[in-house]
């Protein structure tokens, strides 16, 4: 007769659950963002079909949005630098990389604020201006979330957390950051380049 002689809790077993959860969360966030962008594309196609003007000439400039894009491209490297540094137990480099990424995030927020003010758009003026606000506003919300995620990870790293085999949270933050960069790539192409 086999009997139980010990009562122990089942082993706590969490292989990369934060990273997996972030993948699911990123997928949901990206679908949310795409749904708004898709409505933008559809409305613009309808306006073109009816030979209506979408944005007034000179209102949406390519230059500042390009700055945002290239800053985000730069931040892709810094955030991966952080992941690599944590995995290599190089904490100083990890701190610098995470701080730079946070700084880039704040800079992008500043640039977006400038872009939105620079257009002089009004929410109720037209479908084009309304959707411009909603898309950029939605992106800003995700950007703020990404900056908070990176900052939180930075603070935890400063407190001595993470290491070569415990870099999951940094990888998860980096993944969310990449998703936000991808969102802007979509916006940059569909809203700013392909006006």
């Amino acid at each position: 007769m086999i009997t139980t002689t010990r009562f122990l809790p089942a082993q706590i077993y969490r292989p990369r659950s934060l990273l997996v959860g972030t993948v699911f969360g990123c997928a949901a966030a990206f679908m949310f963002f795409l749904s708004v962008v898709a409505v933008y594309v559809r409305e613009r196609a309808r306006a073109r079909h009816e030979a209506m003007e979408w944005f007034a000439e000179g209102t949406v400039e390519l230059g500042p949005s390009g700055f945002v894009f290239w800053t985000l491209v730069l931040s892709v490297f810094t955030v991966q630098w952080a992941v690599q540094a944590i995995n290599a137990e190089d904490r100083v480099n990890a701190y610098v990389a995470l701080a730079l990424t946070t700084l880039f995030g704040v800079a992008i927020f500043n640039q977006l604020w400038f872009i939105i003010n620079d257009t002089g758009f009004a929410l109720a003026a037209s479908n084009a201006e309304f959707l411009f606000f909603v898309i950029n506003g939605t992106f800003i919300v995700f950007l703020i979330a990404a900056v908070l995620f990176i900052t939180f990870t930075f603070v935890r790293a400063l407190a001595g957390q993470f290491g070569p085999k415990r870099a999951e949270a940094v990888s998860a933050a980096a993944l969310f950051w990449h998703t936000v960069v991808l969102m802007w790539a979509v916006v940059y192409f569909l809203v700013y380049i392909n006006k």
Binding site: I2, T3, R6, P9, M31, S35, V39, L123, F130, L131
Partner: protein
């Protein structure tokens, strides 16, 4: 090393699983636990404080289940009132005005999805899935708990906003306060969707990353697999509805009036209508196939004959239920003619039929590897290949089979609905499909609640009330769905489409008005039966049978890991770390392996 240690190390379970997992066994009682657990029963004493602070997935799941059952009762009553109103084709008798009618119409339809069916499955999954995959808790328990409360807050806001004159649009114009209430309804709806998305992330992550050693994806129990597929589909599609709501809300609060037009229009509700229509409506029913496959195998007392094929069919069904692309902003009213829409509609019955065939193969399978090892009395049953009538007539058995049959009827109705020459797109045929899917999902939810009640609440639920609930809900679903299906063929318009064409008249004049009136009366009877069924479910939930002291850990002969936990399961679920899993039925194969070893 004890024998248990040895068994665990070699990846096997002892021949008598009760001796391993039962907290009441003499051997277990004799050995005092070195790590003290919070008593599952005693932990209930915490009440509100526990409900506010818990991170135990079973309590979180119960929050979802209780909320969804409460909402089910309210929404079902609204459904009856709407159906009675429909009998004489006037919106003024019960609801005193078109706007009121429209508000409750929206509450019923979106409520069945967002307040009832989705949270019901989320709750069931939150309780059961971690145990099925051998985990001690759900992934991100605090997020899961937050999602449950977000859901309750969202549900409260939505219902209160509708009662305050809100809803998803207004047909007769709105006052400023009603416009505010509509905006509040949108906020409540967004919270509901957000809560379900967060909970889906927790469930999906649990299945992907918290599986016990040896349990690869092909060995995941069918219900857990169906919840992974469902969560993936929900995560890819529900955010689209959230995007719709954001655009509508901000348009309503100062936009150009193109997206959130609520004045004399059903545009807001019609935009969200893709959530309750083909193909997206089938996303609600993905877990039905999981519950069916799992319960049927237990009822048959056999290993599922086609586990891998059943998983593939569930995945295929999930693929065919992705429907965010069909929303009006993307497709206008023309999606009925789209190739993809027609192909999805024609194909969706196939995975359901396939799942039924797989279960039929299970019942026909010789019992060489059946559960006789768990219950010696079953050995003769296996040899004679007789049906396990007691199992088939159990509440979970009946409910699972009723659910899949109603779902099959829904997919067949959906198949007929996409046949272009009949042009049934704007008719009540659409309503028939949605009703059948809702109640198939509800029946599957009931099957799950009765089946896993020992793990959900540490009780067995009464069979009489359960059978009464199944009979009433299944018959009600057939009456509702059948009546709408027939009416659709005679030209009765689905209301959601009718008033968008002419807000003055709510119901079109069908070609055979008398027959449609008879059908509407049948539908009202069906809705009433469903309320009776729901009352039976609530009564059973409030007054379960048996007590925790005498409840077996595995009363139905289940073969998956949740049945290796005590009833009710303690914090951490398992008294000992689950043995290494070697197949999709870990209890059965572990037992056999142990016997072979000995």
């Amino acid at each position: 090393m004890t024998m248990t240690d040895s068994a665990t190390a070699t990846g096997t379970l002892p021949s008598d699983p009760e001796s391993l997992v039962s907290p009441t066994s003499a051997a277990s009682a004799a050995s005092a636990p070195s790590v003290s657990f919070e008593s599952p029963v005693a932990s209930e004493v915490g009440g509100v404080f526990d409900a506010l602070t818990t991170t135990d997935h079973k309590r979180i799941g119960r929050l979802w289940l209780r909320s969804s059952l409460l909402m089910l009762l309210a929404v079902a009553v609204v459904g009856v009132l709407l159906r009675i109103e429909d009998i004489n084709s006037s919106p003024d008798d019960i609801f005193a005005g078109t706007n009121n009618y429209f508000q409750f119409f929206g509450l019923y339809r979106l409520g069945m999805v967002l307040l009832v069916v989705l949270p019901l499955f989320v709750g069931l999954a939150t309780v059961v899935v971690p145990m099925q995959v051998g985990a001690t808790n759900i992934a991100f328990p605090r997020a899961a708990h937050g999602a449950a409360w977000l859901f309750m807050i969202g549900a409260g806001i939505t219902v209160v906003a509708v009662l305050a004159g809100g809803g998803w649009g207004a047909l007769d114009g709105v006052s400023p306060s009603e416009a505010d209430a509509i905006a509040l309804t949108l906020v409540g709806t967004a919270l509901l969707i957000g809560a379900i998305v967060v909970a889906s992330v927790c469930v999906a992550t649990t299945v992907v990353s918290l599986r016990t050693p040896g349990m690869n994806l092909l060995r995941v129990p069918l219900f857990a697999w169906s919840m992974l597929v469902a969560a993936a589909v929900w995560l890819l599609t529900l955010p689209l509805a959230l995007g719709n709501l954001v655009l509508i809300y901000f348009d309503l609060r100062g936009g150009p009036g193109e997206f959130g037009n609520i004045e004399g229009s059903d545009a807001v509700f019609a935009q969200l209508g893709w959530l309750i229509e083909q193909p997206q409506i089938y996303a609600l029913a993905i877990p039905v196939l999981g519950v069916f496959g799992q319960v049927a195998a237990v009822v048959a007392k056999r290993r599922h004959a086609q586990h891998a094929a059943a998983m593939a069919l569930i995945g295929f069904f999930g693929l065919l239920s992705v429907g965010g692309w069909s929303q009006p902003w993307f497709q206008g009213d023309s999606h009925d003619e789209q190739f993809v829409f027609v192909v999805f509609g024609l194909s969706v019955a196939l995975p359901v039929l396939g799942s039924v065939a797989a279960v039929a193969a299970t019942f026909a399978r010789p019992g060489a590897d059946a559960a006789a090892a768990l219950e010696p009395s079953l050995a003769s049953l296996e040899r004679t290949k007789k049906l396990n009538l007691a199992g088939l007539l159990s509440v979970h058995g009946l409910a699972a089979f009723a659910a899949v049959l109603v779902l099959l009827a829904a997919t067949v109705a959906g198949l007929v609905r996409v046949v272009q020459p009949w042009d049934l797109g704007g008719r009540t045929t659409v309503t028939a499909v949605m009703n059948l899917v809702w109640f198939a999902a509800l029946l599957a939810g009931i099957a799950g609640i009765w089946f896993w009640a020992p793990k959900i609440a540490g009780v067995l639920l009464p069979g009489g009330l359960g059978r009464s609930a199944i009979f009433n809900i299944a018959l009600g679903a057939v009456l509702l769905g059948g009546a709408d299906f027939v009416s659709g063929f005679f030209g009765a318009g689905a209301l959601a489409y009718q008033y968008s064409a002419a807000s003055v008249s709510l119901v079109s004049v069908p070609s055979n008005e008398n027959l449609v009136e008879v059908m509407n009366a049948c539908a009202a009877v069906g809705a009433l039966l469903i309320v009776l069924g729901v009352l039976a479910v609530v009564a059973a939930w409030l007054k379960p049978q048996g007590n925790t002291e005498t409840l077996s850990d595995n009363p139905f002969g289940g073969l998956t890991l949740e049945w290796a936990t005590p009833s009710p399961p303690p914090l951490g679920n398992f008294l000992d770390a689950p043995a290494r899993v070697v197949s999709e039925v870990p209890l059965l194969d572990s037992v056999n392996d142990t016997e072979e070893d000995s």
